[in-house]
C-alpha cells in the first residue's frame, strides 16, 4: 500500500492551502524529510516535507489548486507497487477543491483572490540550524543582529556571548559595504509578498489619516515604576503599554476592529493586536490575541517571545495569524510621526512616533513635558474621520491616565 502525502495543517485556523509548486516529480526517489512541494496558506508560503521515503508515484493535484487540509496530494510507494486500486477506489471522490465557509474564505471570495492573505514565508529562507547558545540568541535578538552574520567561536562553531560582544562594537546593520557598481537584487520571497500586499492595500483601500499627540509623562513614569519591580527579562516597553491601551479603546470602537468583507463589515468579537516587527529583509506582524483581556506583563512577554521567534526564523503560523488591528512603531528611531499603510483585510492601523521632551504651553505658561504622536490610518469605506478622532481621544484617555490600563 502506497503512503499518502496530505495537505498539512500549519496553523490552528488553517482550513486549506494552495499548492504552489511541485519540487519533486513523479518517478523521482524521495527520502523521508525531503521537500516535495510548496504550498501557500492565507498567511505564509511553506514547504511540504514528505513523511515517507520511496518513489513519488503519483501527483494528485495540479499547481494552483486549493486543497483542504488532510486531503491527499501525492502517493509515495515502491517502484513496482500497483497503485491502480487506490486510484480506482478514490476516483469517485474527486480531489476536493475546498468549500469551506470560513471567515477567510468569504473574504477571499469577495475580494476575488483567494491567495492574497497576509503571506509570509515560514520555512523558506530560514537558514539551516544555527549553533548558538540560548544566551547568545537572546542577546542577538535584543540587539537586532542577524544570526547568519555571526561567526561562532565556541565548540563546533557554536555562537556564544563572546562573539556577540565583539560584534557589538560594529553593529552588523551598519556594516553594509559600499556598492562598487549597479547591482540587480532578487527580492526575497518576503519582499515579494510585501510588495504585492502593499500595492493591493494602497490601491484598493481609500485611506484617511488622523494624527494626535499624547501627553505621555505619566505613561513614562508608570513604565519606570513597573520596570523597577521587574526582572531584566520582563521589562515592559512603551509599545506594550500602547498595545494594551489600543486594545481597550477598540472595545469601545468595534467598527475599527473590523474587516470589510464584500457587502458586510465584520466586527470582530476578539481584539487581536498585530505588532509590526522588522525582520531581515522585510517585516512581519505578530499577533497578541485578546490583548484587551491580558495583563501588560503577559502582553509584553508574549510579544517578546513572538518577536524572538520571528527574528530567528522560527515563527509559528499562530504567531502571525488572526490580527484584527495593527500597530506599527518607529518610536525607537526618534521619529516624529509617520503614517502606515493598512494591513489588509483589517480596517485600520496605528503608527507610533517617539516620545519627545517638549515645551508645552498650558494656561498661558510654558512648561516642560513629554509628548508622543500617533497616526491612525483608516479604511474610509468602513469609517470616517469623526470616529477615528473619537478613537484617538479614547486612546488618549488610557495613555494620559495610564492607571486605567491597570484597572480595565
Amino acid at each position: 500500500m502506497a503512503d499518502i502525502v496530505t495537505m498539512p495543517k500549519l496553523g490552528f485556523d488553517m482550513k486549506e492551502g494552495t499548492l504552489v509548486r511541485w519540487v519533486r516529480h513523479e518517478g523521482e526517489n524521495v527520502v523521508k524529510g525531503d521537500i516535495v512541494a510548496e504550498i501557500e496558506t492565507d498567511k505564509a508560503t511553506v514547504e511540504v516535507e514528505s513523511g515517507f521515503g520511496g518513489v513519488l508515484r503519483k501527483i494528485l493535484v495540479e499547481p494552483g489548486t486549493v486543497v483542504p487540509i488532510n486531503a491527499p496530494i501525492a502517493l509515495i510507494g515502491s517502484d513496482d507497487e500497483d497503485i491502480s486500486i487506490w486510484m480506482a477506489e478514490n476516483a469517485t471522490s474527486e480531489i476536493p477543491t475546498g468549500h469551506i465557509e470560513s471567515e477567510k474564505q468569504i473574504i477571499a471570495e469577495k475580494t476575488g483572490d483567494s491567495k492574497k492573505g497576509a503571506s509570509f514565508p515560514i520555512s523558506s529562507g530560514v537558514p539551516a540550524r544555527i549553533r548558538i547558545s540560548p544566551l547568545a540568541r537572546l542577546l542577538a535578538t535584543e540587539r537586532g543582529i542577524p544570526l547568519d552574520k555571526l561567526e561562532g567561536s565556541g565548540p563546533g562553531g557554536r555562537i556564544v556571548r563572546k562573539d556577540l560582544d565583539s560584534n557589538l562594537a560594529t553593529p552588523v546593520r551598519q556594516q553594509a559595504s559600499r556598492i562598487e557598481e549597479d547591482l540587480k537584487v532578487q527580492p526575497s520571497k518576503l519582499r515579494q509578498i510585501i510588495r504585492r500586499r502593499m500595492v493591493e492595500a494602497k490601491q484598493t483601500i481609500p485611506h484617511f489619516y488622523v494624527t494626535r499627540f499624547f501627553d505621555v509623562k505619566r505613561l513614562l513614569d508608570l513604565r519606570m515604576q513597573m520596570n523597577a519591580a521587574l526582572p531584566e527579562s520582563d521589562k515592559i516597553s512603551i509599545n506594550d503599554l500602547v498595545v494594551k491601551a489600543t486594545a481597550l479603546s477598540l472595545r469601545e470602537f468595534p467598527n475599527l476592529n473590523s474587516s470589510l468583507q464584500g457587502e458586510f463589515i465584520v466586527q470582530f468579537a476578539d481584539v487581536n493586536i498585530g505588532v509590526a516587527v522588522a525582520v531581515e529583509g522585510g517585516l512581519m506582524t505578530v499577533v497578541c490575541r485578546h490583548a484587551d483581556e491580558k495583563s501588560i506583563r503577559t502582553i509584553s512577554n508574549e510579544i517578546k517571545q513572538m518577536v524572538s521567534r520571528a527574528r530567528s526564523g522560527k515563527v509559528r503560523s499562530e504567531d502571525i495569524e488572526g490580527s484584527t488591528f495593527s500597530i506599527s512603531n518607529l518610536g525607537m528611531y526618534e521619529v516624529y510621526e509617520f503614517i502606515a499603510i493598512i494591513n489588509p483585510p483589517e480596517t485600520a492601523i496605528l503608527s507610533l512616533g517617539s516620545a519627545f521632551e517638549e515645551a508645552i504651553v498650558e494656561n498661558g505658561t510654558v512648561k516642560p513635558g513629554w509628548r508622543m504622536r500617533a497616526t491612525i490610518s483608516v479604511d474610509h469605506r468602513v469609517s470616517d474621520g469623526e470616529e477615528a478622532a473619537r478613537f484617538m481621544r479614547s486612546l488618549a484617555k488610557y495613555l494620559e491616565q495610564p492607571v486605567r490600563l491597570l484597572i480595565d
Binding site: S133, P134, L135, A136, R137, L138, G154, R161
Partner: protein, 323 residues
C-alpha cells in the same frame, strides 16, 4: 575567629547544645566509652554520663528507631551512624518513619531528631563502606539533608539542626575531620537551606558541597593562575535546596560546572543542571558540565580509588571545557 578542625567544630556544637539543653542526648555505636569512631564525642561520656551518651548495639535500625521513638516523646536525640553506608539498614526508619511522621499524624507530632552520618570515600574502606549516596536521602520530602563543607558551617548548621523540630540528616565527610577553618567565637547558628558563595568570581560558577567544596576551592586557586576567576557556590544543604544564589551567579557567569563526590547518574549535578536550564535557560552560554565519581563500586586499591573519585584536575579540566 579561631581556627579549629571540622571535628572540633562538630564536637563543640554537640557539647554546647548538650550543656544548654538537658533534653539533648547522643546515641550510637561506640559513641560513649570509646569516644566515637571519628573521635567526635571524645570526653562526652565522662562529662555528661551514660544517660546522655548511650552506646548501642551494632544495629542501625535500632539506633534510628529508638531515636525516633525518643524524639516523639519530646527529647532531642542526636543519633550517630558510623557511616552513611549503614544507614541503608535503617532506611525504613529514616525515609518511611522519620521523614513522614509529622505529615502522617497531621502535624500532631514533631520530630526533633538529628541523625549524624559519615559519608564519602577516599580512606580505602572498600566498595561497601566508601559510598557517597547523599543524594538518595535528599530525594525524600520531609527530611532535611545538611552537608557542610567548612568548620564554621558545620558548627552553625549542627546547632540549628539540634534546635530544629524537624528530622535532619547531618552528613559529615570522612576525609574532612582534619580540615581547619575560622569559626566565630561564642554561640552562633546558621540557618538550614541557604546556599553560600564561598569565593567570588566572574567567569564560571562552580557549584558543589561538602568534600566537593574543598576540591572546588583548590581548583579555583589553580584556575586563578590562568587568569580564570571562578565563583564557588556551596549548597550547604541538599534539601531544602536553595537555588537563588546559584541562579544569580549563573546569570552573571553564564557557565557552570557542578561537582559531587557521588555518582553522576541521577545525581546532584543532574538536579542543579535541570534547575538552571528551567530557570535560566536564556542565560546559558555553554552546556553545563558535571564532575562526579566514576560509575563503578569504589575500589579498595589506593590508586584506583583516587582515579575513581573526582579530583581537582578534573574540575580544572571541566571548567576549561565550558569556557
Amino acid at each position: 575567629m579561631t581556627k579549629i578542625t571540622m571535628r572540633e567544630a562538630i564536637s563543640q556544637a554537640l557539647w554546647e547544645e548538650m550543656e544548654k539543653d538537658p533534653s539533648v542526648f547522643i546515641l550510637g555505636e561506640e559513641v560513649g566509652v570509646w569516644g566515637g569512631t571519628y573521635a567526635v564525642t571524645k570526653g562526652f561520656y565522662d562529662h555528661f554520663g551514660a544517660d546522655r551518651v548511650k552506646d548501642t548495639p551494632i544495629a542501625e535500625s535500632v539506633i534510628v528507631g529508638a531515636a525516633i521513638g525518643a524524639a516523639l516523646t519530646g527529647v532531642r536525640p542526636v543519633a550517630e551512624l558510623m557511616t552513611i553506608n549503614f544507614a541503608f539498614s535503617a532506611m525504613d526508619h529514616i525515609v518511611n518513619q522519620a521523614a513522614k511522621l509529622h505529615y502522617m499524624f497531621g502535624g500532631q507530632f514533631v520530630l526533633p531528631l538529628v541523625i549524624r552520618v559519615v559519608s564519602g570515600g577516599g580512606r580505602q574502606l572498600g566498595a561497601t563502606h566508601s559510598q557517597t549516596p547523599d543524594v538518595v536521602f535528599a530525594h525524600f520530602p520531609g527530611l532535611k539533608v545538611v552537608t557542610p563543607g567548612t568548620p564554621e558551617d558545620a558548627k552553625g548548621l549542627l546547632k540549628t539542626a539540634i534546635r530544629s523540630n524537624d528530622p535532619v540528616l547531618f552528613i559529615e565527610h570522612a576525609t574532612m575531620y582534619q580540615v581547619r577553618g575560622d569559626v566565630p567565637e561564642g554561640d552562633y547558628t546558621i540557618p538550614i537551606g541557604i546556599s553560600k558563595v564561598q569565593r567570588t568570581g566572574k567567569d564560571v560558577t562552580i557549584i558543589s558541597y561538602s568534600k566537593g567544596l574543598e576540591l572546588s576551592l583548590l581548583a579555583a586557586d589553580e584556575l586563578a593562575k590562568d587568569g580564570i576567576e571562578a565563583e564557588v557556590l556551596d549548597l550547604r544543604t541538599l534539601r531544602p535546596l536553595d537555588m537563588e544564589p546559584v541562579i544569580s551567579s549563573f546569570k552573571k557567569t553564564n557557565r557552570a560546572v557542578v561537582i559531587e563526590e557521588g555518582w553522576k547518574s541521577f545525581g546532584v549535578g543532574a538536579e542543579i543542571c535541570a534547575r538552571i536550564y528551567e530557570e535560566a535557560f536564556d542565560y546559558v552560554d555553554a552546556p553545563i558540565k558535571r564532575v562526579a565519581q566514576k560509575e563503578v563500586p569504589l575500589p579498595y586499591n589506593k590508586n584506583l580509588e583516587q582515579s575513581a573519585l573526582p579530583q581537582v584536575a578534573d574540575i580544572v579540566a571541566a571548567v576549561k571545557e565550558v569556557l
